[in-house]
């Protein structure tokens, strides 16, 4: 993450919590009873609508699994000054969220932080998500 974005990230956390676009039922897709914690390296930031996705490689017992993390719509990120190049591959992220009901490596995130504790924009892909 380039330095000039550091300030923007902190501001974004509070803004994103209030307004993210939803287009489907989150309770239908994600499971309240499957909270997860992940640490992994970004492989791709897919800047798209109706939701953006961050893909991270997570290593568990020597095996690497690529997780798909659902975040806000590209349009809401753009309106807050984000660009598709702002989250380079290799960035290490710490993720809290809920796993998809179907048990796949897919999650709705409640918070994402960098290793130094700074928080990334994605409060959740849903404005409803509980904040911690």
């Amino acid at each position: 993450m380039r330095i000039r974005h550091a300030g923007a990230i902190l501001v974004m956390v509070t803004l994103m919590a209030g307004k993210v676009l939803a287009h489907h039922s989150f309770t239908a897709e994600f499971d309240e009873k499957k909270p997860i914690k992940l640490t992994g390296k970004v492989t791709e930031m897919k800047f798209s609508n109706p939701h953006s996705w961050i893909y991270i490689d997570v290593e568990t017992n020597g095996k690497i699994v690529n997780w798909a993390l659902e975040t806000g719509a590209a349009n809401s990120l753009i309106r807050r000054g984000w660009k598709r190049t702002d989250l380079p591959a290799g960035t290490v992220l710490l993720v809290d969220g809920w796993q998809a009901r179907n048990g796949s490596a897919t999650a709705n995130v409640s918070s994402i932080t960098f290793t130094d504790g700074r928080r990334l924009f994605a409060g959740s892909s849903n404005e409803a998500a509980p904040t911690k």
């Binding site: 489907h24 239908a28 897919k46 798209s48 309106r79 009901r101 179907n102």
Partner: protein, 462 residues
Amino acid sequence: MPAGKGVVEGGEIPYQPWAAAKRLENFTNRQTVDPLGKCYLPGVPRIMYLEFPFQIFQTSEHVAITFEWSQVYRLIYLNGKPPLHEGVESWMGDSRARWEGDTLVVQVTGQNDKTWFDMAGNFHSDALGVTERYTMLDADTIQYDVTINDPKVFTKTWKMSVALLRQKNMDRILEYQCQAEAEEADGSFERDPRTWYPQLGTPASPTAAMAPGGSLPALKTGANLRHTADGKADLTGYYSPGGGGANYGLERHGRDFLTPSTRGVVIDPADGSLPYQPWARAERINRELPYRGYDDPTAHCFVAGVPRGIYTPSPTEIIQTPGYVVLLFERMAWRIIPLDGRAHIPDNIRLWQGDSVGHWEGDTLVVDTTNLNGKTWLNEVGDVMSHAAHVVERFVPVDAGKITYRATVTDPIAYTRPWTIEIPMNRQSEELLEVACHEDNGDLQNLKNVRDEFRAQQKKEK
């Protein structure tokens, strides 16, 4: 595909050698790889010469073009300003225009590399720059000249030219919902016979006796509104809904896992609850079960319908001309509201967005919508509406920065009496961005898996 003498100046597109090979590959595989075959947004200029009609709406600051094909629109800015958000890539690009005499000259930038020029595999890169020139040859013919500049794919710029003809016997454009039609045909999306038109063996629009709705205090329009040259309140602008959580339930409800609470937006009945018939209340409750999430048409990226388009948590641009008010939804859908007093279309034509006609009552815009198809949900938790619904909306500009929106729904199939919701629409200095939806819909398969697992379980238990 039919033979044609071509529309390209000089007859040939000047591909770089690698690109000529790529084009041939596209052509060979066109039945499976043409992006239009997947109902992806067609890009510019292809959208302009698809064999579907479109309608043009013109103000001093915009040209809006609404297409029958999948409710796509273009909003072309004439205000001389650069894009508010730079570096944005999209399927339809960013369009900025100026007048050169009577010719409209449009620069289109920021298109991605995923669209084609035609079904013969002619393609471009993300370096594409398109210049369009619209010139009236006579009262009913536009000469549409296009200059294509893409140094990554072509050896030089090239031009094409097409005539666009005004259709005189067409008073409306209707709907061709590409993705919805495909998913209904292959069974990916299932219609509910209880709400869908036609319900076999019953009259199209029942006029069941309903209890009357309550009376509501009239809203006062603002004193210092901007007006158009023809003396109407000027509603043109970008609006964000203050939905109050309407997208997660029209009635008051508490916060649940991943679903926010809302104070409710129902103002009639006075207790804020919807006057459901028992079957419809049961269906509403059932739709909150996880396996039903797949059934919400917007999860498939289909259009929201009426009134849902207004309070999806996503903005709306209003474009107003003397004869029309047009609603452009950021989630790529439009509603055209003619104001000339015309009648609704015949009852047996049913549309996702219905048929809307409007009139002014002072500074209030009143819109009457019928001919709905009964396939839409009222929100993500599944408030119910059927094809019999008659929706009357009032857009009341209470001050220069705010419209108070009221919609009264009379639906004798699902409810015992009419009901009304009220939502503020706040005007902002913003520009619409594009929401390409099913092009990048990562959620639908997950929702389908949940549905399929539930059905498999049901089958096992039987």
